[in-house]
Symmetry: C2
Subunit: 587 residues, 2 copies
């Protein structure tokens, strides 16, 4: 019980020296990686860069205690920072104290919501965003994130959280381009792209694959060091190049949330959406990596782990945090064995915050923008869109709609539309169920669609296979199908509904079955069921439908076929060959 | 084509004398019934009683031209009047001109929305309210409607559209009870109940069943006549008994909708909900009666019929109208053959409006309240709740929640919650699909759950039947199930997923299947599919899953069983006995 809520108790008691050394190495690499990312993502949310470092210390300790993934690297993340910025701009002006307080409030609310969801075991909610919709959301936010940083890259003062506001802001400020800043930005982008693509070359030079990966991952740190050095050497701030500037060298101060209840209320929905998006992204990532090492994570406990991490971020003046895709993969590859690696990385970040902030004073904002742009572009995933389109137009349409809405209306609208579209598409698909008249494959006990296969069928016995669970959305459609069939084939005496694919009959569908039974009785047609699944049959026994059924319930289609084919009248001659005897005689 | 949009062309050309006489008799009965109801329901919506008559003339002509049901009786209806009142009170003060204009605006908006839905063929939307939820909605609104009239019955001036406001208003005004009014109200309720229950007695006195029914239905008219006569004879208005009073004797004036755009905007959502609720109720009723006479109605054209009727109501200063349950049943029983019966009834109402309004001047409001209360109580349906509870706790819970929310928050909240709960319940049910390891029923080609039946099974071949379509909400659950099974049974070499109940594999589930395939490959387990349905197989061929599948696709479970049982290693010896050859060798 205690272990369920404190997963640290699973691994801490068996922590040994070898695990320690693996974790320490991974922590070192992640620390080097997290610094430019944390600074950049804080900026993306419209916050001072240092807030990103604040959010990368305490939350990592919290996750080490409460998280179930061994390798998830917690901290600021691009998509979530974009959503954070979009939410904060609605309640405060960037740069103001109110804005900082709102960020703390948002992190706190996100944390509380996630923790409560975890305590109420609502982890399954994550399943309601379909993969194509999540993929569309990530692609569209990749575009949004990259576009949002174009202004920073060119030294402009323009921002926005939908593509239209971003681009119109950008174009209206185009005359203010600061050329030295743009030069630094473009050089940074170019260098970052070169690093990204250098892996095959490094390996072809005979470098060990693992070292090659390591070097590639440190690309952003190298670019940060290089451009900071240039800025310092050439004293570029004097020429108007924006830099991070003086930052206080102390541990995160205690977070003070907003004292305005209106702000809390306005941030409630954004906090919920940030929590859900962050949770889905983190859990998908954690599950993927846990599967590779045959470990298991618990989605409900992950909610608590992420929730407490966000509360920890709020307490230490940070912004909402989730599992970071890029750092988690690096952490995993570098051999992290336990969440202690995250705690060690937190110590690393704390050290930097305390002693090395003077080093980032000359770090150009344009370099941070370049880091965000290059990593955001990797989110754009055309391949999945193409593959989905080939597989199913419906899924692809939901994906395209999510992309369009995210670009035009922002990430929140995209998430809501994505869930709505996924659910709507599924309901639409199941509301007009496929059904098929089947016949016997000669010489066997198998029955197949008479339109697809060469099969035996009887004029008087209609064997109708229903290919869907029966529930309110398709109950009326079922009635129409059966009535239409009987009207088309007046020679039919027996209607057998084959329920091998019926996994559920809800109360609405039960009423429709009762109506069908009555109406067929009026038309002198006997209604039978076949291959009713155990759980469905159990449920039907709780109603009086079986008592009123004019026909029988057969164990198999074959039993129905052989029992009814040679009957002489609709109300006689039918034998029940199945093991489930009908409650009443036919007729 | 023309007939589709003008169903009148179906029956008018073949209209004959015999149909005319049937329709005329039905029209006479319905006219006598509609008058007290129309007056009462207008009052329920907070409108002058005469507006109810206005809404019972032109809409009936409109429906005769555009409706597909031969017997649906259009006009004001209790539930819809309650929703109308709840919507209007938000935008105007009862009794004001603005309130009247808002009612006209609401009818117009409802009409336009329904007509548009019909033109876009959105009739299937009606399917998204499950039967238990509709039943719960009707029961709860029966309580609400009855409670809303208690004040009128006692001569109090209190109203409200949720149970709490109604009861608290009532109790705070309790000292103002007007005893003569209450006496009239209670006498009316008693008489109405006596009429309702007199049918068996009348028949036991030897009266023809049809005449007995007719007499019973005229009960309200009799009570109206009696109490009006008493009020007139004793000059009760002078003692403070509220009556309908002077009403203008002319045909409905031309409706003037609100000139305030804000009112239009505020009434948009109520109009949508009134339209949907009215449509569902009307179509369910029309379908039930059409089925009895082997006629068919078209839900899409019904939307247009109801839509144009509402526009007609707005044009003639009325309120939103739908099919009335009680009058429709009477119309049907009285032998109405075509919508012309409705048109004749409209002429009857017009005649009353022109020449007989002086007669209703002394009609007590308490009598109208009594009529509403008695008919509202019949909406309360405990039997369905009990039956649903016995059949399925989930459906019953959705029903109870709808009832509770309707009582506490009003009908609109109830409708929205009802749809949400129906959909949520279905998603929840399908998100944790039932699955079963199956074995062979000895000597047959049938396979059944090894936990429910005595069957043969093989240690090395796991036959897993999935009892649900695979889609985003259960994709991860499927992965967990398969991985759990393999972890529990390390001796398994072959995993066969039996897809007889899988009617859909969406893009998310396809990704999960790909992940399962890869992961099982790592564990030296071969993945096979069996009994994949035609439409699902067609779709899978649009992906590259079948190329990557480590095992085969078998036509039947038996083919998989006999092919795999005697194999010597996971990667050899399997034969495909099905007609769907696998794309690749196993392994």
């Amino acid at each position: 019980m205690l272990k369920r809520y404190f997963p640290i108790l699973e691994w801490l008691p068996v922590y040994d020296r070898q695990t320690l050394s693996s974790d320490l190495i991974a922590a070192l690499i992640v620390t080097l990686m997290v610094i430019p990312q944390a600074l950049a993502y804080a900026l993306l949310a419209g916050l001072p860069a240092i807030v990103g470092l604040y959010a990368s210390i305490l939350p990592l300790f919290a996750y080490a205690v409460f998280g179930t993934s061994r390798t998830l690297a917690i901290g600021p993340m691009a998509l979530v920072s974009l959503m954070t910025g979009a939410a904060l701009i609605e309640v405060a002006a960037p740069g103001s104290t109110v804005y900082l307080e709102a960020a703390i409030t948002l992190a706190f609310l996100t944390g509380v919501i996630l923790t409560l969801m975890g305590l109420f075991r609502l982890g399954f909610f994550a399943n309601f965003l379909s993969h194509p919709v999540v993929s569309g959301l990530l692609s569209a936010s990749g575009v949004l994130i990259a576009a949002s940083q174009l202004a920073g890259l060119a030294g402009l003062d323009a921002s926005g959280f939908t593509l239209i506001t971003q681009l119109s802001n950008l174009f209206s400020h185009l005359d203010g381009i600061h050329w030295p800043t743009l030069a630094i930005g473009l050089v940074s982008v170019t260098l970052l792209q070169l690093f990204r693509r250098s892996r095959p070359r490094l390996k072809s030079w005979g470098m060990n694959a693992r070292y090659a990966d390591f070097l590639v991952k440190l690309g952003p740190l190298f670019v940060v060091a290089l451009t900071t050095a240039i800025c310092w050497a050439a004293n570029l701030p004097a020429f108007g190049v924006a830099v991070v500037g003086e930052v206080p060298s102390h541990l995160p101060p205690l977070g003070v949330p907003s004292s305005d209840l209106g702000v809390w209320r306005d941030l409630l929905v954004p906090a919920l959406l940030i929590g859900i998006v962050g949770f889905i992204e983190s859990v998908a990532l954690a599950q993927m990596l846990a599967a590779r090492r045959r470990q298991r994570i618990s989605p409900d406990q992950e909610l608590i782990g992420l929730g407490v991490s966000n509360i920890a971020s709020a307490v230490s003046s940070g912004l909402p945090v989730v599992g970071s895709l890029s750092r988690t993969v690096v952490n995993f590859d570098a051999g992290a064995q336990t969440p202690a690696a995250g705690a060690f990385a937190a110590i690393g970040v704390a050290f930097v915050t305390l002693y090395l902030t003077p080093l980032i004073r000359f770090l150009p904002i344009a370099t941070l923008a370049a880091i965000i742009i290059v990593s955001a572009l990797t989110l754009i995933d055309i391949k999945t869109l193409k593959r989905t389109w080939r597989y199913s137009y419906g899924d692809a349409a939901a994906m395209l709609a999510t992309i369009a809405l995210t670009l035009v209306q922002g990430v929140e609208a995209g998430v809501i539309a994505g869930v709505g579209l996924s659910v709507g598409l599924y309901l639409y698909r199941t509301s007009r169920p496929h059904s098929a008249l089947v016949g016997r494959v000669p010489g066997t006990e198998h029955f197949r669609n008479i339109q697809r296969h060469q099969v035996e069928s009887s004029e008087r016995v209609a064997l109708l296979r229903i290919d869907e669970s029966l529930y309110f959305a398709n109950a009326r459609y079922l009635e129409d199908t059966v009535y239409g069939l009987v009207a088309e084939h007046p020679e039919v005496d027996h209607m057998v509904l084959i329920c091998s694919a019926v996994n559920l009959i809800d109360a609405s569908a039960l009423e429709s079955l009762e109506a069908i039974n009555l109406r067929l009785k009026d038309s002198q047609v006997t209604l039978h069921l076949a291959e009713v699944k155990g759980p469905v049959m159990d449920r039907l026994k709780h109603s009086d439908f079986l008592q009123h059924l004019t026909g029988q319930v057969f164990l198999s289609t074959y039993a129905a076929w052989s029992g009814l084919r040679h009957g002489h009248s609709p109300s006689s001659g039918s034998r029940d060959q199945g093991r489930t005897p009908a409650k009443k005689d036919a007729g």
